[in-house]
Subunit: 326 residues, 2 copies
DNA sequence: TTGTACGCGTTATCAT
DNA sequence: ATGATAACGCGTACAA
């Protein structure tokens, strides 16, 4: 193991018998500003010595970073990893590198991350917000750090965002399920609070059904047996709508459901993977497109990044990536 | 939206009527080196102006970064997100921030990430390697950039790692399944190649069973129906061992298995979540502890980070976090 | 085509 | 307790 001292650009310059300016130009791809010979000379030295730039110095001099923070509400969700992949695919095409921070469904963690992102001068941030308090986020705008929201919006602050058509698709799905054959609906969801996503979904459902019973639970503590004590899971006149895939899967894998998997559909929900379809091949679900959402978010961010300093306001976009009931 | 220019430490110094040295001391928590009065004065200005340090400059001056890269082979796996959470929990306690890069099961992507990590001067890296080529990684060692491997090892290079007891637990699980009642074993796995994890698991199985048929597939293309044409899934004398949770779930949700869920166990596998247990409550599986593995990896990295420059070799640790058959 | 010299924002050493 | 100032490593006018 060779323990080389850190080489600097001036070391390379000396070794190549050129000035640091020339080396710097080489490093920045300005090859047309130098003779082929010197370019080769420099290239040789650099590969031989395995030299790498000090990116802190680069950032300081160039006044910009190429790191984009992606703050996910909880990476346990398949949804997160999928949109992250979408984000990275776009970002990397523009020379940015996307790094994932996990809020772990914890408001304090999210706040800490936002603080970090803020301090580490990332070039921009894509945020799936946990908080509904826009004050935490305003800071980014004040400091001209581009931000785009994904999955969820914030009520009282105008900024770029990528969401899905929660309200419309919920409404549409309900309409497809021949409302006449159900007398009531039970919605199973994580706590609705003010989260735009969940609020919109419930609202969409309520446009079709009058009798809507919303049951809030947390997936970590979700117990189907206990649920069965308050809800008649086998009542064919009661439609179950599950707003989160993990909860849906737990329901579908419950023995009472496995038995009736081929009967008339009396359960549906929002899904991100194909797994619910394995469990109930004949049922329809509301399928989101997280990868696409991520890609869109990244595209918007790139626009903000590559536009002049002060026109964040001008470039604000609110994109809706539709989900499908199928 | 106020469009403030970026404040620097010297701006703060002027506003507070002190020198930049004093402000710098304040920022670095050396409060005992100044009067209470000046500390308050500086604090006031900083909060009022919402000043933040330029971390590129800090890094340049301090010659160190507080970013740790976590390069996952594919974040679709629940396994990844779980160990990432474990990593972050330790890292953040030491003031480091962990950022996740996703290789997306793609060797080229992994290589690109390693290159990035290398160039962005992160403080260290935790890698779940896709490659079996240690040359790619040797560079990190050469440049004194601490690295610890997670989940998988590399044959020909000595470095810190955290793995599980793949061989032993596979062997143990086989022994528990009363080998006499099975005449053969079918192993279903993603391509084994040289991946240490899969190799060890298969080896463990083979110590107990002679008749082992290894079927390689990719989870994206996995088709249970097709598998059924070559393997008799309902043969009670044939034990199915699935090395990857996602494949296992697809098998368990297949109609033919749902029917026999309460019979004698003729299928098992490696799992990371509770989902397979929902599907087959009476079966036993090999459960890993990704969160713990992540935490261990981070602890090792911290040691490398906080020890002197040149003794990576001295601090090499190879930790095994056991999995359990239950 | 190539080189000199200054600036980027902060830390840390040495004075005072 | 506080201040002046030389690094840190690189980019980039401006010169040559």
């Amino acid at each position: 193991m060779t323990n080389q001292q850190k080489l600097t650009i001036s070391d390379i310059a000396k070794l190549a018998n050129v000035s640091i300016a020339t080396v710097s130009r080489y490093l920045n791809g300005q090859l047309n500003q130098m003779s082929e010979a010197t370019a080769q000379k420099i290239k040789k030295i650099i590969t031989e010595t395995d030299y790498i730039r000090n990116s802190a110095a680069v950032q300081l001099a160039k006044k910009r970073s190429n790191l984009v923070a992606v703050v996910a509400s909880n990476i346990d969700e398949y949804f997160s990893s999928e949109y992250f992949k979408g984000i990275v695919s776009i970002l990397s095409a523009f020379g940015y590198i996307g790094v994932l921070l996990d809020s772990d469904s914890n408001l304090k963690t999210e706040k800490a991350h936002l603080e970090s992102v803020y301090n580490q001068n990332f070039a921009g941030i894509i945020l799936q917000p946990l908080t509904t308090d826009s004050a935490v986020i305003r800071k980014f705008l004040n400091h001209n750090m581009p931000i785009v929201l994904i999955d969820r919006e914030l009520a009282d602050l105008e900024m770029s965002s990528v969401t899905t058509n929660n309200f419309e698709i919920a409404k549409y799905a309900m309409a497809q399920l021949s409302p006449d054959s159900f007398s009531s609906v039970t919605v199973i969801t994580e706590p609705v609070k003010k989260l735009s996503t969940r609020v919109a979904r419930v609202a969409g459902i309520k446009t079709v059904f009058d009798q809507v019973n919303v049951i809030e639970t947390r997936s970590e503590h979700f117990d189907v047996n206990q649920l069965a004590t308050t809800v008649d899971l086998n009542n064919p006149k009661n439609l179950l709508v599950v707003l989160k895939e993990r909860l849906l899967i737990q329901l579908l894998t419950h023995p009472s459901f496995l038995m009736q998997a081929h009967q008339t559909q009396n359960i549906t929900g929002f899904i991100d993977t194909a797994m619910p379809r394995y469990l109930a091949p004949n049922f329809k679900f509301i399928q989101q497109s997280p990868y696409l959402m991520g890609a869109s978010a990244a595209e918007i961010l790139i626009k903000h990044l590559s536009s002049a300093n002060n026109d964040y306001q001008q470039n604000i976009q609110n994109i809706i990536v539709p989900s499908h009931y199928k």
